[in-house]
């Protein structure tokens, strides 16, 4: 198995990264990269493999984030203990929103998911019981280790890494299984897929359930780390767009694409913000926007395409 070696090296690099990045800020960026990779990978199951471009995944992310902080504010539990509630809510939402919208094609599906997520965001913003517009706060100071409130980003990094590893293993498993083939077949052409016996709605729903569950978990982890969520930061349109952008930038529908996207975009965001943010000129986003445009212009399949280009060129040379 020649692919095992780079995988082991990658794993070791991920585990050892904090020892290279010994400054806490870089460690935080690394943690944010892994967190973004989790939600983008989760989105990738539906948006990438199945080609159903959801722009409403914030509803699942927000479920997780709100689940965690509601467990704290209402029940006084450690926020992470609320993750199961958040995941359960996300699964329920996935069924309620997924079943009617999956019959929509292409851009109609995208628009419907945007509308559903915005609807939920506005409703939560107007709903005092779940914090309303003010949002929800985590524990101001850790009461016990279970609150997962650390000064160092390292514990978060390793927790996130563990979740990401599990998600990537599941994704790799799905990729090689019947479900993975069915998802790609649906992307390739839903009518043709159904004529081959692919139960399209059930297949998409299965992918959406896994996707929603992990997106919600990412939301819970986000809330635990940041200690605050409000409708915009938990359920806003940009939360969904971020997942789409990261996966598409890295290479949607590939195992490593979302990870590549997160490892590119998050440091890019942080670097441009650190460099230009203070200037007040908006240069942060000029650079950010320009890079997205350039990548989409020259690598429409995402950065993962670069790797394929290199490989095919090498094959050409070998031939």
């Amino acid at each position: 198995m020649k692919t095992r070696v780079p995988l082991v090296l990658l794993g070791l690099a991920a585990l050892g990264l904090p020892f290279v990045l010994h400054e806490v800020y870089y460690q935080r960026v690394a943690a944010l990269v892994v967190l973004a990779a989790i939600s983008a990978s989760a989105w990738n199951l539906v948006g990438g493999y199945a080609g159903q471009v959801s722009v409403g995944h914030a509803m699942f992310f927000g479920s997780g984030a709100y689940g965690a902080l509601l467990a704290y504010t209402v029940l006084g539990w450690p926020p992470i203990a609320g993750a199961p509630f958040g995941i359960a809510a996300a699964l329920l939402l996935a069924v309620v929103v997924g079943l009617p919208t999956f019959r929509l094609q292409g851009h109609y599906f995208s628009m419907a998911t945007i509308a559903a997520a915005e609807l939920i965001a506005i409703a939560v913003g107007n709903w005092k019981l779940v914090g309303g517009a003010a949002g929800l706060m985590g524990p101001a100071a850790p009461r016990s280790i279970a609150d997962l409130s650390f000064r160092s980003p390292l514990p978060y990094y390793y927790i996130f890494l563990l979740v990401l590893t599990i998600l990537l293993l599941i994704t790799a498993r799905i990729e090689r299984s019947r479900l993975g083939f069915y998802l790609r077949a649906i992307r390739g052409g839903e009518r043709a897929a159904r004529s081959l016996g692919v139960p399209a709605v059930r297949t998409k729903l299965a992918a959406l359930l896994v996707s929603a569950g992990f997106t919600a978990l990412a939301g819970s982890l986000y809330a635990v780390m940041i200690g605050f969520v409000d409708p915009e930061s938990g359920l806003g349109l940009l939360v969904s767009v971020q997942m789409v952008i990261i996966a598409a930038l890295g290479g949607a529908g590939t195992l490593w694409g979302p990870l590549i996207g997160a490892a590119t975009l998050i440091p890019l965001e942080e670097t441009t913000n650190a460099f230009f943010g203070g200037s007040g000129t908006g240069a942060t986003f000029v650079v950010y926007g320009a890079i997205i445009v350039l990548i989409s212009r020259f690598l429409p399949g995402g950065i993962a395409e670069l790797w394929q280009l290199v490989r095919s060129r090498r094959r050409l040379r070998a031939a």
Binding site: P6, A13, L17, A141, I226, L259, I260, G278, G282
Partner: protein, 418 residues
Amino acid sequence: MTLSRRTVLVAPALALPAILRVSAAHAAAAVRIGAIFPLTGAMASAGDAIRSGVELLVDLINTANPNLAPIPLMATAGLPRLGGAKVEIVFADGQNSPAVAQSDALRLITQQHVVALTGAYQSGNTLTASAVSERYGIPFVNGESVATNLTTRGYKWFFRTTPIGPDIAKLYLDFLASVQKSGMKTSKIALVHDTSEYGVSVADTIKKAAAERKTPVALDVAYTNGTSDVSAQVLKLKQAAPDAAIFISYTSDAILFMKTMHVQNYKPPILIGDDSGFSDPSFITTVGSLAQGVLDRSAFVPGKPGSNAAKINALYKKKTGRELDDTTARSMTGLLVLCDAINRAGSTKPDAIRAALGATDLMPAQLFIGYKGIKFNAQGQNILASALMVQLDGTEYQAVWPSDQASAKLVLPFKGWT
């Protein structure tokens, strides 16, 4: 093959420290303070104004300005108790994201080695950024966020100079009561507010306070920030015909409301804007001519020539071409209090700064803002924070109430446009 795959994945992450380290150039002996404000995104217009104000204030601190003598640190160049050390502000853009503001705080503390933080405008951003400073034991002085829960977290390192919800509600109700005494009816109050954290929290405190005084709010119109049309909201007001309407709106909506009220030819007898949108200089330049006589809650008025406020306003206007607005003045005051405390501490050690902040006791005469002074309670809230009612006349707001601080006479009813 193995090499290239690894490189593709890890290279961006590894390159980051090298890139960032370049930016961490150190200036010798200066006292570095981190300032997080929304410099991009939907709140950038406010952040931009604040940024200019902060730059102005730091210039004034770092140079000798004897004509501003009553204000701390003005007469001397730099911080005298630290050997004239200059203050250096490291700005960071909190955007519209609590997570970004938190990253900013961490970066400023651990990379830029700031001795204290100020900011971060949106309450959510202030909340997450100050959580970092609390963990690192770095003082954080906030001059402008109004969410009540910021000072109820039991934080040791967080201080706030601005008036908050209950102060604001009291101001409005006292003002309306005094207008009523002068013979104008004010019992029917309408609230118009957006559904942001700011709009809802201020509206709720006003509603609560009004109910306690047995003059419950008669009409409550909530709308979404950034809406594209407010005709229906204005029609509601027009039909209910309240004695006084209080708007709690950000700039874009405030502009839209004035334009729409003009179209519908509707003028409430008393029109009060709650700071933010109505204080934004853009509000005056865009719809000032439709909003003559609008009342605004503000802690800042340029006032009589020769006053601290007038001088600071003149300097700000010279720098930016615009009037100094209340929010910026409040943020500047937060920073001034912080610099004053660092100077009195005579040290940049966090504990010393915190002790000095706790001992802060500034008089109104030492400020350029209309607070009754600065004195923090155990929670870090300024107990002398207050605001006044100002009224737009031409392109400038004048203090009109309470009468002891007034620089012009209150003119009612609301004139609007001609």
